[in-house]
Structures are given as C-alpha cells and as structure tokens.
C-alpha cells in the first residue's frame, strides 16, 4: 500500500511539473508575441539608439525568441526567475515581499470561510424546516449572488464613511510605529476587518450550500437511523458519523478555493489598497514587467496545484475508498 501511495504521488508530481512547464511556456510565448515594448518605459526619445539598444540588451530581449526561451528554461532549472524590470530586483525577492501578506490574509479568510460555513450548516440542519433554516438558506443564495466588489464598496460606504468605525484602505495607520506591540496588532486587525468580510462572505455561502446539501443527505441515510435506533446520542452521531461522511465534496471545493485565495485576492486588494500578490501581478501586467508576470503566475500555479494536492490528501485520509480510487 505504501509503495503504491508513493508511486501515485510521484506520478502526480511529474504531471504537475509538466503542467507548470506547459503553463510557463504558454505564457512565455504569449508575452514575446504580444504587441508593445517593455523597454519603452525606460527609454526617453532623447537617448541615443545605442543606449536604447543597451537597455534592451540588459533585459535580454535583443536575442531571438528561441534563444530567450532556452535561457529562461536554464535559469528556471536553477530556480532563478530573472530580474524584475520595474523593481530592478530578483523576482523572487519582490514576490517574497508580497507573498507573506497574501498568505496570512488568505489563510485567515479561508479559516473564517470554513469554520463559519461549517457552523452555519450545522446550525441550520439541526433546525431543519424552521424559519431560521429557511432564512439562512435564502440569505446564503443572495450573498452568493453579490459580487465581492459591490460588497466591498458598500462596506466602505457604511463602515468607513457613515459610521467611521474602520479605516477604508491600507494595511497600517500613519502612526503605526508609535503603538505598542498589541496596539500594532489591533491596528492591523482594524484595517483587515472589512477586507476579510469582503473576501469571505462569498466563500461562506458556497461552503454553507455544499455542506448543508451533503449533511441533509447523510442525515437521511439508513445508517444514521440505525445508529439512532441503537440509542447513540445525537451529538456523537453528528461528530463521528455525519460530518466525516458528508465533508468529502466540500474538501475538494475548499482546495480549489484555497488555491484561488492564495494566488491573490485581486478585487479585495484593489478596493482596500492592500499590498498583496493580486495587485503585484496586475501591476506587473500593466507595466509589461515580463519576468515578474511569469514569476507571479509560477508562484500562483504552484500554490493552486499544492492546495489541490493537500485537499486530496485530506480526503484520502478521511476516506480510504477515495485513496484506492486515486491510486487506480
């Protein structure tokens, strides 16, 4: 069994690498054949053509595309993603500055989504058919149909402008340095509350919907009735039997969601002016910063594949049948 698991994992690893390579090559080709010149930004018309050529040379854009692609692959194999045009720094260190925020922010949001989704689903399934169950059901459908940018802008209007409770943008206040450690934490928290709500509401609705449907199905299953007839307490049934049996599909959804979150919450970051991967990638695209675009996509792709892998591992851990299915 163990050997088979390792074998299937390696198989998966290899296909993941192939997929990533395919993705980067696709992006590389698109970039080289897109209209516009990334060096244009750094060259003024007064500059002599010789110097202009030098700028191009320093970006490595003077060689034929095939040669560039070769260089790119060689550099990639050594873990070098190149030097960002705008920041004049290695791409890795630029991403290193933005990734921690995105990681913390998206993990926080992910935890909120999962736990609130689970809590609400359990809360409403226990009161199945009551008005509160119906209300949460309807409400989650409405929240799901609300685009995050509408939520974000309205939250800013309500809480930052009308009630003046939370700051509307940024990550810290101007006098951030003067606070004590806990004051600084509180400052971060007050800046992050609105973005977290904006980012999480949709996800909570999705998780709630998936979980409630599955829980409903499991609650009506024969084995649950059987357990009840044996006199097992409701609490134990839910904890030991119902949740593990109905959580499977949600974990796959959670894997996809985590990947999307980790690759950068673009809309939320734009509304609240937060320094995350999403805005970094967009600025790279709009500034035609080729190495940074490839770097951002690479990191996002790796994170998406990893989070899907984690979701599959968790599923396999919970349900041995799925493990067998995956190995085959």
């Amino acid at each position: 069994m163990n050997k088979e698991i390792i074998l299937s994992l390696t198989k998966r690893l290899v296909t993941s690498i192939v997929v990533l390579l395919l993705m980067l090559s696709f992006l590389f080709v698109l970039l080289r054949y897109s209209p516009g010149d990334p060096t244009q930004k750094f060259i003024s018309p007064k500059l002599s053509p010789k110097l202009a050529l030098k700028v191009k040379e320093s970006f490595g854009l003077d060689k034929p595309v095939l040669k560039q692609y070769q260089n790119f692959l060689v550099n990639l194999s050594t873990g070098d993603l190149g030097i960002s045009y705008t920041y004049r720094e290695p791409v890795i260190s630029v991403i290193g500055k933005y990734l921690p925020f995105t990681a913390i922010f998206s993990l926080l949001s992910f935890i909120i989504q999962i736990s609130l989704g689970l809590f609400l689903a359990l809360y409403s399934i226990k009161r199945k058919g009551s008005w509160i169950d119906n209300f949460i059901k309807k409400f989650s459908l409405s929240v799901y149909a609300l685009p995050s940018f509408v939520i974000g802008v309205l939250l800013v209007y309500l809480f930052s402008w009308k009630l003046n409770l939370f700051p509307s943008s940024g990550l810290k206040s101007f006098d951030h340095q003067s606070f004590s450690f806990f004051g600084q934490l509180g400052d971060y928290a007050s800046h992050l509350i609105l973005p977290l709500i904006t980012l999480s509401l949709g996800g909570i609705a999705v998780f709630y919907k998936y979980l409630r449907d599955n829980l409903d199905e499991t609650f009506n299953a024969h084995f649950v009735m059987n357990l009840r007839s044996y006199g097992v307490t409701e609490k134990e049934i839910i904890k030991k039997h119902v949740i593990p049996n109905s959580i499977g599909p949600m974990i796959s959804v959670a894997g996809v969601e985590l990947g999307i979150l980790l690759s950068g919450a673009l809309i939320t970051e734009v509304i609240f002016g937060l320094p995350g991967m999403g805005r970094l990638a967009i600025n790279a695209i709009l500034g035609r910063d080729y190495p940074l675009i490839i770097g951002c996509t690479f990191v996002a792709g790796v994170l998406i594949i990893l989070s899907n892998l984690i979701a599959d591992i968790v599923r396999a851990k919970l349900d041995k049948r799925i493990l067998k299915e995956m190995i085959n």
Partner: protein, 426 residues
C-alpha cells in the same frame, strides 16, 4: 385563474408599446421614408444607415411582431403556458428591457448637457427642459425628410434643441432662467414659444445622474445589453471549445486524451482572472476579444463533463451501432452524443453564464472593460467609487442590477438541474 408566462410577456410589451406610441409611429414613418430614399437616392441612403438606425428599426419591428406572434401561437409553445414564477418574471423583464433598449431607455446612455444642473442628481430629482428655437431646415428632397424624421426618432448623445434649467422666469422682454443659483438672461427670440409661453417640459431622472450628468437608468439599460450579450457570446464560445475538446479526448482516447487532460489541468492551474486580464491588457480590449477571452477561460468544467460522458457512451450498443453504420464524427457528436449529455451541459452553461457576467463586471470594475463607448455595470460601480461619499446611487443601482441578474441566473440553473434530475429519478 393562473397567471401564465405569456400573459406577463404581453403585459410588459403592452406597457412598453403604450409608453412609446408616438415614437413607434415616428419610427415606422422613418422606415417608410428610408425605403423611399433607398429607391430614389441609393447613394445617400447608403451613407445614412448605421447601427443605431438598425437597432431602432429592429426594436420597432419586434415589439409589433412579438405580441401578435405570442397571441396566435401561445398554445403551441409549451414554455409560454408555464405558470409565472418570480424568476420568469425577472427574466422576462430583463430581456424585454434589453432587447427594446431604444424604446425603454429615456435617453441616450451617453447624453450629457448642462453639467451645472444635471451633475450628480439624486434619484427622482426633476429639472426643467427649456426648448430653444430650431433653425428651420429646408425640406427639399427625400434625404431632408428622412434626416428630419431620424432626428425626431433617434435619441442622440448631444442635442442643441433645449437646455436643462432649474427654473424659468419671464420678465418683460427677456426670459431669465436659473442654473444652480446663477441667473442667466436669454433673448426671447431664441426660445421656442407655444401659445405665448416658453415651452418647458420637466424631466425626472428616476435613478439620478452620474458625475457627467448622464441618466443612470438609461445607462443601466444599455449596460444590461452589454452584459447579457457578452455573457451569451462567451458561453457559446465555451460551449464549442468544451464540447469539441471533450469529444475528441473521450472518443479518441490514448495520447490525445492525456494531452488534452494536461492542457485542461494547465488552464485550471492558471489564476484565471490574471490570464484574462493579461490577454486583455496585452492584446486588445474590444467587446469581441472580451467575449473570446472569457469564453476561452470557462470551458474546463464542460470539457470534464463531456469527456466523462463520452467515455461512458463509447461502450453503449447504440453508439457502437451508429459508428458501424458509418456515421461521420460530426454526426456522431451531434446525433448521438449531444442529445444524451444535454442536461448536465445546459445546467453547466447556465451557471457559467452567471460567472461570465460576474467576470465581465469585475473586469470593467478594474478599468479593463470594453471601453467608454458602452456603459457597463462594473464600470459604473468603479466610477461611483470616487463619489461614494456624495452619490450612493451611482453604486447601489448597478450593484442591484448585477445582484438580480446573478441571482436569476443561479436560480435558473438550480431549477433546470432540479427539473432534469427529478425526471431521471421518476
């Protein structure tokens, strides 16, 4: 008596017709004049025709034809006999407003004039329209008749015929009008008089105006058009990509299958919004390319469904028989595969439709939409962000439209899913 869908459709269309009787008559007259022009002066007719004229004529034609058609054929078309539900009502309303945008929108979405008066008006605020004297145009030939009629029918983005004012006073030989606390004199002979009084109409902006004094309701209506159109186009593109690739992967198997699977995995591993933004920012941001890009980024789930179903179908007897008879691949796909997988595909497409509309709105919210020629919901919300402290209506109404549309799309998808599944169970 049950209210059926077709009753509601007739009601909506009837209301639109009643509100626009004058315009419809003018529009038909315009069509007549155009036909006259076409046969008498082909060269000029050719230069006069453009998209907006065609739009108006089609709207006029459809609003007369559709009610007649429904009244005659409502027994034959099954869906028209369904009970009216909330979703159907919203859908009908959205579609009617969208298709007949020239009739339902009270002004051109880009119409702006007298900013001092019309800028950032609250919903239901009223301003006065003071009509000015028009220069008499000589009516000599068919072309002049046509152009005059055209100006009467088509709502233009600019007009010299009137000015927006807050109030008007007449004192002696001059007329004084007030534009935002500023009194301005105007000579009497510049103003259009009817029965000794200056002609004044009041105009109500039901949903207010934006920072350039444009009517938000009209912009919303034309924005609906854009959103629904982009959604439809992108879904069709996704449909074709997903069906064809899924069929090839499932039917051919082997090398093609694994190649296409890797290809799909690649798209799934892309942060898809980045890919869309990347292509739109780098290449082109016309409506057509937005449709293509959104379509090309949403086919993955469809591919998976079709591939799995084709692999299942491949071993069925009827499929093997059809193949042995010698049906071509195209026939196999359209006659054997599609009818068998249509239900999951339709459900998927409806959900995809909602996602595409959302993605388009998000794109234009980020300022990467189809440009400023067309109003779009996301773009309106983005513009409203700067005026959030003084003009909430600039954000709330487009947000509400988006919300209603997405809710309807999701609900429709769920209904269709339920419909198909319940039939399978029975």
């Amino acid at each position: 008596m049950k209210i059926k869908l077709w009753h509601f459709i007739i009601l909506i269309l009837g209301v639109i017709i009643l509100l626009n009787v004058g315009m419809l008559v003018n529009s038909i007259e315009m069509l007549w004049l155009f036909l006259v022009l076409l046969f008498s002066d082909f060269k000029h007719a050719n230069t006069q025709i453009n998209i907006s004229i065609i739009d108006y004529l089609i709207s006029t034609f459809l609003i007369i034809i559709i009610p007649v058609f429904i009244l005659i054929y409502n027994k034959q078309i099954k869906i028209l006999q369904d009970k009216l539900t909330f979703i159907f009502a919203i859908m009908t309303l959205l579609l009617a407003v969208t298709i007949f945008a020239p009739l339902t929108a009270s002004s051109n979405p880009n119409f702006q004039k007298d900013l001092r008066v019309t800028k950032l008006l609250t919903p239901f605020s009223t301003v006065q329209k003071l009509f000015l004297k028009k220069n008499e145009i000589k009516q000599e030939n068919n072309l002049d008749y046509f152009i005059l009629k055209k100006d009467e029918v088509i709502k233009k983005s600019f007009s010299q015929d009137f000015i927006f004012v807050n109030s008007v006073k007449t004192s002696g030989s001059d007329v004084i009008y007030i534009q935002k606390n500023k009194e301005i004199k105007i000579e009497k002979d510049k103003i259009l008089f009817v029965e000794g009084k200056p002609l004044i109409e009041s105009k109500t902006f039901i949903l207010g105006t934006d920072q350039y004094g444009r009517d938000i309701l009209s912009r919303l209506i034309y924005g609906t058009r854009l959103s629904l159109f982009i959604g439809l186009g992108a879904v069709i593109v996704s449909f074709f990509i997903g069906i064809i690739l899924g069929f090839i992967a499932g039917y051919a198997g082997g090398f093609f299958d694994s190649l296409l699977n890797r290809f799909t995995e690649m798209f799934l591993a892309f942060p898809i919004l980045f890919l869309i933004i990347f292509i739109i920012a780098m290449f082109d941001s016309s409506v057509f390319s937005i449709i293509l890009v959104l379509g090309a980024s949403g086919w993955m789930s469809l591919f998976k469904i079709v591939r799995a179903e084709v692999i299942k179908l491949k071993t069925k007897d009827f499929f093997i028989t059809a193949k042995l008879i010698g049906l071509s691949n195209y026939k196999l796909l359209t006659k054997e595969v599609l009818p068998n997988i249509i239900s999951p595909v339709v459900v998927n497409l409806v959900f995809l439709y909602g996602n595409v509309i959302l993605a388009e709105a998000a794109l234009s919210f980020l300022g990467l939409g189809a440009g400023n020629n067309y109003p779009s919901w996301g773009g309106m919300i983005q513009a409203g962000q700067s005026y959030i402290t003084i003009a909430w209506w600039m954000i709330v109404f487009p947000g509400l439209m988006l919300f209603i549309t997405l809710l309807t799309a999701n609900e429709l998808g769920r209904k269709i899913e339920h419909h198909f599944n319940s039939r399978i169970i029975i």
